[in-house]
């Protein structure tokens, strides 16, 4: 079976790495049915491991469905810090009869499978090279809990208890998390604790706990937090001072706007006492759930034009709809921040699967000659920082900025260094002329008087007749007048191209790691980082040094061009079918096509180090 096909079904790829299973090095997988509350049990395990100081990641492989379809959750534990998606699994918690067969097959040799032995496992599924651990979960839970909904939920907590015993999760830590979660709701806490204990005790008394691979408390997570990218992005928008957000629900971007709302309600809601003594709520924000993405981007453009920091969050289909107005904002030079949490396309594609396949669509979004500013975060920390930066860039360069996150970063929990904030930060509002400045100049023309970075001053409506001008998406000259004149038109669009080039100096520099004398390198982007770093480590252990560059912004800086020039071959690792980053590097960084070797993953699951290693090895063989 092809790797891609297997990957799509949640199965592991062929192992290429030597088996690494041991203390603080292993991977767990939970096979459940969506809509049954397994997420909170899985999260409990992830958080417990995090609290024990062990580097960890959780990947939610969920269907585009509300209830009843198979869903998996993967946890990779790595004391060494390799937390990209695991390629093989040491303990499978198989709680979904529908997927038993593939779940049994997904356990790596010597690994374990935990199943509900309330019903016998079909003989057919038994594999001699793995260990089967049966717990009659449904039966045990049924003896304690009578409510059918509670039985379903508590069964999940019970398997979490069993896993805790099997991999050596500190019981105190897990109980502490439970009490934080349920706080004063004592009956809930008690029920959860009982279910947890039930699983824990059963595993302890029936199996050799802990298993050969297990956890040991370490200090790997000091100064770190466990957070998803969408929350971090929303936090960035809040801290950047965005007051208007407009959006239309779409997986996997929805939680950006929803988190932004809850953050605004927490930090931007002021209670006032009116003249007649009544208490009144004042919201220092306005969030518009638009009728569609066409409206959402329009609202952002209108609000930014009027002087607010405004953003929208969407995914690929929304970007497609926004195209015409992205061109409007580009040509009329209106700031607009667009968060694109990428998912697998084309069309509706696989809404709950990840890809980095909007790179080209965003770089040149809209008809006509357009080029945009793109930011590529690799984890939630960068989501936060780049969200703030995107507003500064959008206002400084008066143009759309697209923050290209993805489903893996946006919706999964990542261990990252704590977010930091400098209280001396003030927004870069760019060139905006107020009434006093307008008094100083003879006459204001919107697209005249460019600065060294080809930015012209703008004015905001509502302040002064001297600043009044007419914004039009139709052909205009540098005075802002309608034109169909070749020269007048070209002057403006040429300046736009120059402005785009000038912005490259303000984009976050690439992350670069060089080794003296390395002839080969890997170039990547966004959420590929951890898998690529792990693969580079694999080759380094075999005496092959690969240099590393991670692109963080577009337009590309000259550093990227010279890095490519400095290497005989660069493997470009990205998550799409058509090597979009590679194409953009060829088009915009002057990279010779022959020097850039594409390594692609586009099955929709987060990249594994094995895929990168195999990709590079195959490319090498092909070259030889």
């Amino acid at each position: 079976m092809k790797t891609e096909e297997k990957a799509q079904r949640g199965e592991p790829d062929e192992p290429a790495l030597p088996k690494r299973r041991g203390l603080n090095e292993f991977a767990l997988k939970f096979a459940t049915v969506n809509g049954t509350g397994s997420a909170s049990a899985n999260n409990l395990i992830l958080r417990s491991i995090f609290r024990m100081g062990v580097p960890v990641s959780g990947k939610n492989l969920f269907p585009s469905n509300i209830q009843g379809l198979p869903t998996w959750y993967e946890i990779r534990v790595s004391g060494e810090g390799n937390t990209s998606r695991a390629a093989e699994f040491d303990l499978m918690v198989a709680m979904n009869g529908q997927t038993y067969a593939s779940d049994v097959a997904a356990v790596s040799p010597g690994g374990y499978l935990l199943y509900d032995s309330s019903w016998p496992l079909p003989k057919l599924l038994l594999r001699p090279e793995i260990n089967f651990l049966g717990i009659p979960l449904a039966k045990l839970i049924g003896e304690i809990f009578s409510d059918s909904r509670q039985r379903i939920l508590m069964k999940n907590i019970a398997y979490a208890g069993a896993v805790a015993a099997l991999v050596g999760i500190d019981q105190e830590v897990i109980l502490e998390l439970l009490s934080e979660r349920f706080g004063s709701r004592k009956s809930l806490f008690d029920a959860n604790r009982e279910a947890l204990q039930l699983g824990f005790d059963y595993a302890e008394s029936h199996f050799a706990c802990p298993l050969p691979f297990r956890l040991e408390t370490m200090a790997g997570n000091d100064g770190k937090i466990l957070i998803d990218g969408n929350t971090a992005t929303a936090m960035g928008c809040l801290y950047a001072g965005a007051t208007v957000a407009a959006w239309y629900p779409i997986t996997p971007a929805t939680s950006v706007a929803e988190k932004f709302r809850s953050l605004c309600e927490r930090y931007r809601r002021v209670e006032e006492t009116t003249a007649n003594g009544a208490r009144e709520i004042r919201n220092n924000f306005l969030i518009l759930q638009a009728e569609d993405e066409l409206a959402a981007i329009g609202m952002v453009i209108g609000a930014s034009w009027a002087g607010a920091r405004a953003f929208t969050s969407t995914s690929g289909p929304g970007i497609s709809l926004m195209n015409e107005q992205i061109g409007l904002a580009y040509y009329t030079e209106i700031p607009a921040v667009i968060v694109d949490v990428q998912r697998a396309g084309p069309s509706t594609g696989m809404p709950t699967r990840v890809q980095q396949a909007d790179i080209m669509a965003c770089a040149y979004a809209s008809h006509g000659d357009t080029k945009h500013l793109l930011l590529f975060p690799a984890d939630p920390k960068e989501c936060f920082e780049m969200a703030v930066l995107s507003f500064d860039l959008a206002e400084r360069f008066q143009t759309p900025v697209m923050l290209l996150s993805d489903l893996d970063i946006g919706m999964n929990d990542w261990v990252i260094p704590r977010l930091e904030w400098d209280d001396s930060y003030r927004p870069d509002r760019g060139r905006v002329l107020g009434p006093a400045e307008l008094e100083q100049i003879e006459e204001f023309f919107r697209y005249d008087d460019a600065d060294a970075e080809f930015v012209t001053p703008r004015t905001l409506p509502g302040f002064s007749e001297r600043g009044a001008y007419f914004t039009r998406g139709s052909g205009h000259d540098r005075f802002g007048r309608y034109t169909e004149d070749a020269e007048g038109y070209q002057q403006v669009v040429d300046r736009l191209a120059a402005k785009h080039r000038a912005a490259s100096a303000h984009m976050p520099p690439p992350v670069v790691k060089r080794h003296p004398g390395a002839r080969f390198a890997v170039i990547t982007v966004g959420s590929c980082e951890s898998a690529v770093i792990e693969a580079i480590g694999y080759f380094a252990a075999r005496d092959l040094q690969l240099d590393y560059l991670r692109v963080r912004g577009f337009p590309f800086s000259s550093e990227i061009s010279s890095f490519i020039e400095d290497h005989e071959r660069c493997f470009v690792v990205e998550q799409n079918r058509d090597a979009q980053l590679r194409s953009l590097l060829i088009l915009e960084a002057g990279a010779p096509a022959g020097n850039l070797v594409p390594i692609l993953s586009y099955g929709g699951l987060p990249l594994t180090a094995v895929q990168v290693i195999e990709g590079i090895e195959t490319a090498w063989k092909d070259e030889a």
């Binding site: 001072g241 220092n284 066409l294 930014s304 704590r418 905001l460 009044a468 001008y469």
Partner: protein, 351 residues
């Protein structure tokens, strides 16, 4: 060129409004629309309305989509910011601008193609959101700028320039808006400035979304005998609801609309309109009655004009969202950013 700057000839005799401006101060660039285009008359009525309401031009924000009608914001209030955006998307852009700065007076100019076809979804939702703005549809039953195709407001039986008849049912923006809960719904006729100016003034004073559908014949593509949006047809079928100055509700408490039509108004070009008289019990605060009235008039082939519905009691987009009285853009950054300490505390929940 769609705009030619107008020579400013000082006319000492022009009267000034409350803020010392003359009607010339509300004009814009010279129109480049076809001579006789209804849209130019709407522009003239807007100029008059803004002048009479003594609105400082810099407080005005002019928005439009694409079409002949959408070009007209260039032709009035040159002291105001204007935004000629893309086809059909004016409503959300205006909503965003209004969200950012509620102290501006937002005027959206659109066409029947812009609002009832490509932008119909946005019009519908702008009404629901109750974005405080004057939203004018310069309704000519055709796509003027793309040279005469039927629009969604073309009546069944109406013929296009080359004689083909429209067979599909039209969208009546008045009935649409009434059924969606619009808080101000009116219709005027570009050929009747005396009626249109008070309608526009009332709409500008409205504390919510004010829809004004203005029948505005296209002399190029839709002004022949077979067309229901022609000067000929409208003059013969207009049913007038109000006739004299609307009393802005914010200025006087007695905001009750006058009822009962008088009979004659002479059009600027000398034409005469046949009037219907409204029933005495017509109440512009009764949505159900307004809908019934509009539907019945349509069945009779008549075009009711005037302020058909007003509700000054509902909350606009800002009131619905409890935003502060001052514009969001005036909030200082310090009031928006929670700061380093709050970020540190926030992250304690992610350990």
């Amino acid at each position: 060129m769609t705009s030619i700057s107008k020579p400013r000839i000082p006319l000492a005799t022009l009267p000034a409004n409350e803020i010392g401006l003359t009607v010339r101060d509300y004009e814009g660039a010279m129109s480049t629309l076809c001579a006789g285009c209804g849209h130019d008359s709407v522009t003239a009525a807007l100029v008059r309305s803004l002048f009479e309401l003594s609105i400082p031009p810099h407080r005005i924000v002019k928005m439009s989509g694409i079409g002949c009608s959408s070009k007209t914001p260039t032709y009035f209030a040159s002291g105001a910011h204007g935004f000629n955006s893309v086809h059909g998307r004016m409503a959300p852009i205006a909503a965003g601008a209004n969200a950012a700065n509620r102290s501006s007076i937002h005027i959206g100019i659109s066409g029947d193609g812009d609002s009832l076809s490509i932008g119909a979804g946005h019009l519908v939702h702008a009404i629901r959101r109750n974005v405080r703005m004057l939203y004018v549809i310069e309704n000519n039953g055709v796509y003027g700028l793309t040279k005469g195709q039927f629009s969604a407001s073309a009546d069944v039986g109406s013929t296009a320039k080359h004689g083909e008849a429209n067979e599909v049912a039209p969208i009546d923006p008045v009935q649409l808006a009434l059924s969606l809960g619009a808080t101000f719904v009116a219709r005027g006729f570009s050929g009747d400035k005396a009626q249109l100016v008070p309608i526009l003034k009332a709409a500008l004073e409205h504390r919510g979304f004010a829809l004004v559908d203005v029948i505005s014949p296209c002399v190029q593509f839709n002004n022949h005998v077979g067309s229901t949006k022609s000067y000929h047809y409208v003059r013969d079928h207009e049913l007038k609801e109000i006739e004299q100055d609307f009393v802005p509700p914010m200025r006087e408490t007695a905001a009750r609309l006058p009822h009962g039509g008088t009979i004659v108004v002479t059009l600027p070009d000398g034409g005469r309109i046949r009037f219907g008289t409204l029933p005495e019990e017509y109440d512009p605060r009764d949505r159900g009655a307004a809908l019934h009235y509009a539907a019945q008039a349509q069945q009779r082939g008549e075009i009711p004009t005037g302020v058909l519905f007003v509700d000054e009691g509902t909350r606009d987009i800002h009131e619905l969202n409890s935003t502060p009285d001052e514009p969001l853009i005036s909030l200082p950054f310090e009031a928006l950013c929670p700061g380093a300490d709050a970020l540190a505390r926030f992250q304690d929940g992610f350990q």
